[in-house]
């Protein structure tokens, strides 16, 4: 795996992400500053990490989405390169047009940091091949604007094409408003683009990869990716 982690002013989970990538893949990722016009040669995974790029001022992710490096990411994704966009990264990816929809304020208008349960909807993706479809994993969220919204046509397409990859659920895998902490449509927690090579998700799998720090449920996302890239290489 040759991962590149994007760094925008105000991003703050890039270290968490880099540590996890190192831990799981054994390789140090490249940290790429937002003004770079190109990605490091040989990059096979771009990660847009969480945080508050530009303070989340204006709209979450809006300013970062228009950075020079994002043009390079678009080109990379168009060629089929894998992009993992987490939390603020998801917001940036939506603003940049890499993924459809918008992330609005949480339904209760408050920032929420807690462990949530996700039902893995498909294992047929480079991002989820480490899981079984239907499996429930526990990972933390930490966001104020994670309420996924798109027009009904887009939602129908996402659902119809099996592009909803993670859904907020109860511990036993039921979709239930009480377990949908931010009010997202259809309890959507993570989606992929049409081609399946760009994943956006609100929760932080990178924060749950060590038993001593809570749980290891996020580990298999990165292990699956590493495996996929090793096979592809």
């Amino acid at each position: 795996m040759k991962a590149a982690v994007l760094v925008f002013p105000g991003i703050n989970r890039e270290r968490d992400m880099a540590r996890t990538l190192r831990l799981v893949s054994g390789r140090e990722p490249a940290m790429v500053w937002h003004t770079e016009p190109e990605l490091p040669a040989g990059t096979d995974l771009v990660v847009i990490p969480g945080g508050f790029s530009y303070g989340d001022y204006l709209r979450c992710g809006a300013i970062a989405a228009r950075s020079p490096v994002m043009d390079a990411v678009r080109t990379f994704a168009d060629r089929g390169g894998l992009v993992l966009a987490v939390c603020n990264g998801f917001q940036i990816a939506c603003e940049a047009g890499l993924l459809p929809g918008v992330l609005m304020r949480n339904q209760n208008l408050r920032f929420i940091c807690r462990d949530v349960y996700l039902r893995v909807e498909t294992s047929n993706s480079p991002f989820t091949r480490g899981y079984n479809a239907g499996q429930v994993i526990k990972v933390p969220v930490a966001h104020g604007e994670g309420n996924y919204i798109a027009d009904s046509e887009t939602i129908a397409r996402l659902e119809g094409e099996g592009r909803v990859v993670f859904r907020y659920s109860s511990p036993d895998g039921m979709v239930d408003p009480n377990w949908n902490h931010n009010g997202a449509i259809n309890a959507i927690a993570g989606i992929v683009n049409e081609r399946g090579n760009v994943l956006g998700m609100m929760p932080h799998p990178e924060n749950h990869v060590e038993a001593a720090i809570g749980s290891t449920d996020g580990y298999d996302l990165f292990a699956g990716l590493t495996d996929h890239l090793a096979k592809a290489a």
């Binding site: 530009y54 303070g55 001022y57 204006l58 300013i63 228009r66």
Partner: protein, 80 residues
């Protein structure tokens, strides 16, 4: 009736959002913007058909909730 409440920062109050937007516009090549200050609008539909009553109601809403009068000013317009 329809009305709009516009809430803006008092002058002198720091607007970090406005500042960040100025910078972003510049780096997007939008030249010639001297300053940006961000505020909020609330488009409100009110049950009453009475202009004066609507105005009073919205002043109340702004004072109680929509504006933080320590740092913000507001303006109520009844659009009819």
């Amino acid at each position: 009736m329809k009305a709009r409440v516009t809430v803006t920062l008092k002058s002198g109050v720091l607007d970090p959002q406005g500042k960040a937007i100025e910078g972003a516009l510049r780096s997007l090549g939008v030249e010639g913007v001297a300053s940006v200050r961000q505020g909020k609008v609330f488009d409100i539909e009110v049950e009453s058909g009475d202009r004066a009553k609507t105005e009073a109601l919205l002043k109340q809403a702004a004072d109680k909730l929509l504006a933080n009068t320590v740092i913000e000013n507001y303006r109520v317009e009844v659009l009819g």
